[in-house]
Symmetry: C2
DNA sequence: CTGAAAGCGCTAACAT
DNA sequence: ATGTTAGCGCTTTCAG
């Protein structure tokens, strides 16, 4: 049996309260001697406090949940890092849940987190259900959501929205400055809000430069390398081939680059490619990818900070918190004037 | 306040015990009526049992910890999946901890997991400290370790070892059959046991074919893309250039392939490259990478299953459990006869 | 078949 | 400055 606070008390010859006091650092009114005795007893027994018992009293588990679509998506690692760093700083632990693009699985995790009395939850899944939020707020669990148009919810919640506009506009400006005039977009699943945002930002920025959006082919991909490959194939079948393509994410862009290469096209001479996310690989491939960067670690940190803030305020907010992160163009080697 | 079992009991007009009975499905000796009343009360109150309170009694948190080096390492996603899948099946939740290659951080997590009373722990970090295991077994927490030479530990533990031999021998056979006779290896950090295993397997397989191991350059890398690039540069500086190189992992292999390409070498005509792991990217790049595959998902599943078994047996084992997984050569397009 | 009571490990008044 | 007591939400004997 693992030693309990009672064992420590017995060994030290004091009461449980005294032990509890040194555990919580409530040591101001204690005699040096008792403190010492307790400390040695703790050490001798290799006693470790039982968080479960603590949580039962305090109603706080010092744990937060983080729901993501899929660990294997290279967008997440840095985000997770950001979350973990801030969490660790504040002595929180993180329950990472892989939704795996499965809404049911998501709901399962949500219920499980509720039962576990997590103090808060962050949802960063491209596909999520409003139900999750409803369930979470029903039990007053503070929740932060990334990049999801939430109809303002009653309860303690916050959201982080990504300003794609700015980075994407910079990307378009860059392409225009290079002299391109035939564009294309390989999007994410257009059922996703975020895919539409990216597409619209691209098209409207183009329009600002006098390019007719209707003339810009949009191919629906699936945010994967394979989707990018397929997108490129379609692009090549058009009579009017684009000289520059904007991909909804870096994975898609990689698929485009590699398939284009395979077909004998040179990147960037024959085709300029811009991605989005700025995953690690983007700078490691050849040529390194020009991309609209998301501040991944910052997103993670911000989410956890916002959650912490939500946790502090006891009462439900009258209005959801909101924060915005900026995107930023990283110019690398996958873009050049058309023809080189 | 969230409803408790008392609220349900009150609403249903029964005792807490009765509610508890239906919660645990202990419904055999109950009247249909009471069961119904309780069920409706649970539903009306949207009651969710408090796992924390349950755990306090049962001493089991239905939670396991999974320590990994770094989420961003593409080796892990499938492993994590495997673990999660069988964990979910058995109603366990997984605490994912990113050691981040930091031994202190690892110890921190270990202590935290102990305080949280996790039922078991899996350690899958390339660098780990024996201390972790000592600490874990001190508190009788069943632990499964991947690919780490554990001096047999007293307590409830298991290990999964990877048989690199077989897959690597197949890789060497393949290279020899293709007609290669100048080899090189870009290893992982040779401080790591697993790096030495891989290197030794390569060298000894080569020896079996009459190749003098002393004549085979081994360049110490760091299991990253960058390390691969640097490895290739060194390789090119040798008077006798190898025609085939075996990399300690796929990331290293990618670095080699891409850098070689950059320097105008053709893959596989001018250089055959074999990786190890079989990460997803390996089959998505061009040319797809020949690699010694680790059964990632299987490793995850096996680890969780072994942990479950450890959990079943109450008493400490007299001997550690052990299981082995096989590696397998995946022949793709990054290898060919020298010169094409 | 159902309820009352004790107790899991800990903290937080309340005494002393 | 320290000990005593009650109780967090739940399960589990033990009575009835």
């Amino acid at each position: 049996m693992r030693p309990t606070i009672a064992d420590v008390a017995r060994l030290a010859g004091v009461s449980k309260s005294s032990v509890s006091r040194v555990l919580s650092g409530n040591t101001s009114y204690m005699s040096e001697v008792t403190r010492r005795r307790v400390e040695t007893a703790i050490h001798d027994l290799q006693y470790r406090p039982n968080m479960i018992a603590r949580s039962l009293i305090s109603n706080r588990s010092h744990t937060v949940g983080l729901l993501i679509s899929d660990v294997s998506n290279p967008f997440y690692p840095e985000v997770i890092h950001g979350v973990e760093d801030v969490a660790m700083e504040h002595h929180y632990d993180v329950f990472l849940c892989n939704i795996n693009y499965d809404l049911n699985r998501g709901m399962h995790f949500v219920r499980s987190l509720i039962s576990r009395q997590v103090d808060g939850v962050m949802i960063m899944s491209s596909s999520m259900s409003d139900e999750w939020l409803t369930e979470l707020t029903r039990y007053q669990i503070p929740t932060v959501v990334l990049d999801w148009q939430v109809r303002s919810i009653e309860g303690t919640a916050g959201s982080i929205t990504v300003d794609f506009e700015r980075g994407i506009r910079a990307a378009v400006d860059h392409l225009i400055a290079l002299g391109h005039n035939h564009f294309a977009h390989v999007s994410g699943p257009l059922g996703l809000h975020t895919s539409r945002l990216r597409r619209d930002a691209f098209l409207s920025s183009l329009a600002q430069h006098g390019v007719d959006p209707a003339a810009v082919p949009v191919i629906e991909g699936d945010l994967s390398i394979d989707g990018g490959s397929r997108g490129l194939e379609q692009l090549l079948s058009f009579s009017q081939r684009p000289t520059a393509v904007f991909a909804a994410n870096d994975l898609t862009a990689l698929g485009i680059v590699w398939s284009a290469r395979d077909r004998g096209l040179r990147i960037p001479e024959d085709l300029s490619v811009i991605g989005l996310d700025n995953i690690r690989l983007a700078s490691e491939i050849h040529p390194p990818l020009t991309t609209v960067a998301l501040p991944q670690a910052e997103i993670g940190k911000m989410a956890m900070h916002m959650l912490l803030e939500l946790l502090q305020r006891g009462e439900p907010l009258e209005k959801m918190l909101n924060a915005q992160v900026e995107t930023q163009l990283m110019i690398r080697r996958s873009t050049s004037p058309p023809g080189g």
